[in-house]
Symmetry: C2
Subunit: 137 residues, 2 copies
């Protein structure tokens, strides 16, 4: 009989932790009901947020194994190597997780722009006091 697979495989199941999730040194990422975890890519050089995307367990495992960022595209419903088409790859310098392990930060060396619009970061607009958007760069 095959062992029961969780959405977390090949990672530890958060429910298997005996210690508080905040203090453990065991990586047990908490994927949502949709099997995804939020990933924020930040620029290794400037610390600036480049983009926010989602990963399933396979994308996260591939990112760790290859040292390049892989995500899960919710719109296309497929695994996606960042820069696979555009060449704008992300070399992962460090992966961090937060207190409840339901998000990861990828510190990356970004080749070219991170945003599909050609801008360095996807966060290129600011909400004005009037509630509109202003383009920053």
């Amino acid at each position: 009989m095959v062992a029961h697979m969780t959405v977390n495989a090949p990672f530890a199941d958060p429910k298997s932790l005996n210690e508080p999730v905040e203090e453990t040194t065991r990586f047990a990422p908490k994927f949502g009901a949709d099997g995804l975890i939020t990933a924020v890519a930040t620029d290794a050089e400037t610390g600036q947020i480049l983009m926010l995307a989602h990963m399933n367990a396979e994308a996260l495992a591939k990112t760790i194994k290859t040292g390049e960022a892989w995500y899960w595209s919710r719109s296309r419903g497929e695994l996606w190597r960042k820069g696979g088409t555009s060449g704008h790859v992300q070399r992962v310098v460090e992966i961090r997780t937060d207190c409840d392990q339901d998000a990861v930060e990828l510190v990356v060396e970004q080749t070219g722009p991170a945003c599909h619009t050609g801008r360095r970061s996807c966060f290129y607009r600011t909400v004005t006091s009037a509630g509109d958007l202003k383009i920053r760069d």
Copy 2:
């Protein structure tokens, strides 16, 4: 008869945009099926990611109106003013959104630690090459 309310009220509905979401200067945040949008708080001084949380339309509207960060607690199922109990409030200097307007970045002046563990940032652990976690600070 009451006008049809969307999950987006009081914000514009993304479906009402006549121009591409990437280029519009209209703020039409795209809340998920759960009515939430991802919010990343970054330190106005250092640019460092402090925490990642979620907002419903009410939390986002209150954040814009009051200039202090409000979130939606998924675990408690309630609106939550950051620092309301701890005093570790976030004064919002700037709000940014990304190309597809399904995430916001809050650039904040953080009073005290952002993390409930007492650490400045929630992202205080790094994934090691062996797949464990190492505490950074």
